[in-house]
């Protein structure tokens, strides 16, 4: 397993953003769904080794991120797209991707080829030498995706990757996700259930810091059969699981 979480929690003051989550994932694309404030971003930040958990155990790529040497090795093999991509406006697309490739310790001899391949995979070849300040929001998102995949990561974490992409780009991105998921573990946090249906082999649904559903997109669809809320089958499954969970929480505990 590339990702193993055991009873992982994260507190911000008195607010429990992630509450005793246990989760594992091997190669494939795992979609992380849930409403705002469900804990998806906090969970991804912990997986990206940016945020330590308040309690629980995390193992990534069969290593312990609490150990300095292991953490460095994990980070070499990690790709991460944060929800809010900060960037240096004066950098060109190539400079930005190359900068993070260097920080991921991609060997210098492999660097030009890796950067060019990443730029091409997100279809930004025509903008390779453009300054980041001149790009649209969708293009910046693609730059963010390119820096995340430049090291051919074994674990790829993407927080709202399709925000700002137009429909054609989203279709291309889903195909890219499927290709990456053949060899790597890809975890995608998103609000868009259609992304999950088209690209993910598995889904985890979070609510109030808990993982309340784990299964395939078809299993989530099956949960929504006969349920009235939502235009698409996946949306009906999403709503049905959330409603059942919240009803159970109001009663005698949280359903998982």
């Amino acid at each position: 397993m590339n990702v193993e979480l055991t009873s992982v929690s994260r507190l911000f003051g008195h607010n429990k953003a992630v509450d005793a989550v246990s989760l594992d994932a091997g190669p494939g694309v795992l979609g992380l769904l849930g409403p705002n404030g469900a804990g998806k971003t906090s969970l991804l930040r912990m997986l990206a080794t940016v945020l330590p958990p308040s309690s629980g155990e995390i193992r990534l790529l069969e290593r312990d991120p609490g150990r300095t040497a292991d953490r460095r090795d994990i980070r070499r093999r990690l790709g991460y797209l944060p929800q809010s991509l900060g960037y240096y406006p004066a950098f060109t697309v190539v400079e930005f991707i190359e900068y993070f490739a260097l920080l991921k310790e991609v060997p210098p001899a492999r660097l030009p080829g890796a950067v060019a391949a990443a730029v091409e995979r997100v279809d930004l070849g025509a903008k390779a030498r453009s300054r980041l300040r001149t790009l649209s929001g969708g293009m910046l998102r693609r730059v963010g995706i390119a820096q995340a995949i430049v090291n051919d990561p074994d674990l790829l974490l993407l927080d709202e990757p399709t925000a700002g992409l137009d429909p054609e780009q989203r279709v291309g991105f889903r195909a890219l996700l499927r290709a990456l998921g053949e060899t790597s573990t890809v975890i995608v946090s998103t609000h868009l259930v259609e992304d999950v249906g088209a690209a993910c082999s598995e889904v985890a649904l979070m609510d109030s810091g808990h993982v309340v559903f784990r299964g395939t997109p078809d299993e989530l669809v099956a949960r929504g059969e006969g349920h009235g809320i939502g235009d698409a089958p996946l949306e009906r499954g999403y709503s049905a699981v959330l409603q059942a969970t919240r009803a159970a929480a109001r009663g005698d505990g949280v359903a998982a």
């Binding site: 080794t49 190359e98 290709a179």
Partner: protein, 251 residues
């Protein structure tokens, strides 16, 4: 976006060919300074991170040069060696704004990189010290030259001698002030809070020095103060290491 690398024509993978061409066309050749830094630091990533630090770029260098220039002019007309007294506060501001959330736009991303953010912080701090030390030496040389040419006001020779001494001596208080600044910035996650604390702490030290010995320069020339400075630096460094440590409970 392309999920496949390209098309094959007569056994030639055009996508791969194009990527190779693009790699050569887009290739960025590091300059001599970056190559030297990469060799010294034994890390191309660290070298690039050092040379692309927003706060070490032109505005910071210009402001440093201006402060030293003004300080040098003040020396030439007599009085306290202002440049050397300002240097620790200036370096503290440089350190506070060299790194951190809200300062580095890509901080979140940089925190997930194999090249340790603490190492990036360290080399940036060393760079700030090195630039200040270099400029301090230049200012010192100018003061000596002015003294030799008789350009300085009466009593200037003593001032020049003291200035030369403090050029080296201020590195110790500067270490303490910078470490304190960094500790406050890391703990509060605010570069401004760190910078303000560092500047106020240094101003307080100068005023105390003036009150006790009658001269601001005693804060850097009195060797009895060196040990307390080093103790403050050590404590503040320990706070920085602890506060930026990824807890073992991550295991």
């Amino acid at each position: 976006m392309n999920d496949e690398s390209g098309h094959e024509v007569s056994g030639v993978d055009l996508g791969r060919v194009w990527t190779s061409v693009a790699a050569e066309v887009w290739r960025r050749h590091p300059g001599p300074v970056e190559r030297l830094a990469a060799r010294l630091l034994r890390s191309p990533g660290l070298a690039r991170a050092l040379l692309t630090t927003p706060s070490l770029l032109l505005p910071w260098l210009i402001s440093t040069a201006v402060v030293f220039g003004v300080g040098g002019l003040v020396n030439l007309v007599g009085g306290e060696p202002a440049a050397w007294l300002l240097a620790p506060g200036l370096a503290a501001i440089g350190i506070a704004y060299a790194y951190g959330p809200g300062i580095d736009p890509a901080w979140e991303l940089a925190s997930s990189m194999a090249v340790s953010d603490r190492m990036v912080l360290l080399v940036r701090a060393v760079a700030v010290f090195a630039v200040n030390a270099g400029l301090g030496l230049v200012a010192s040389g100018i003061t000596y030259w002015a003294t030799a040419r008789g350009l300085q006001a009466a009593g200037g020779h003593d001032t020049a001698a003291a200035a030369t001494a403090v050029t080296f001596a201020w590195l110790i208080p500067m270490t303490a002030v910078c470490a304190l600044t960094l500790a406050v910035a890391v703990v509060t996650r605010s570069a401004s809070a760190g910078a303000l604390t560092g500047v106020l702490a240094w101003a307080g030290t100068l005023l105390a020095s003036r009150a006790s010995s009658g001269a601001f320069t005693a804060a850097v020339t009195d060797s009895a103060t060196y040990l307390p400075y080093l103790a403050v630096a050590a404590c503040a460094t320990a706070v920085v290491v602890y506060a930026s440590h990824v807890p073992r409970r991550m295991q």
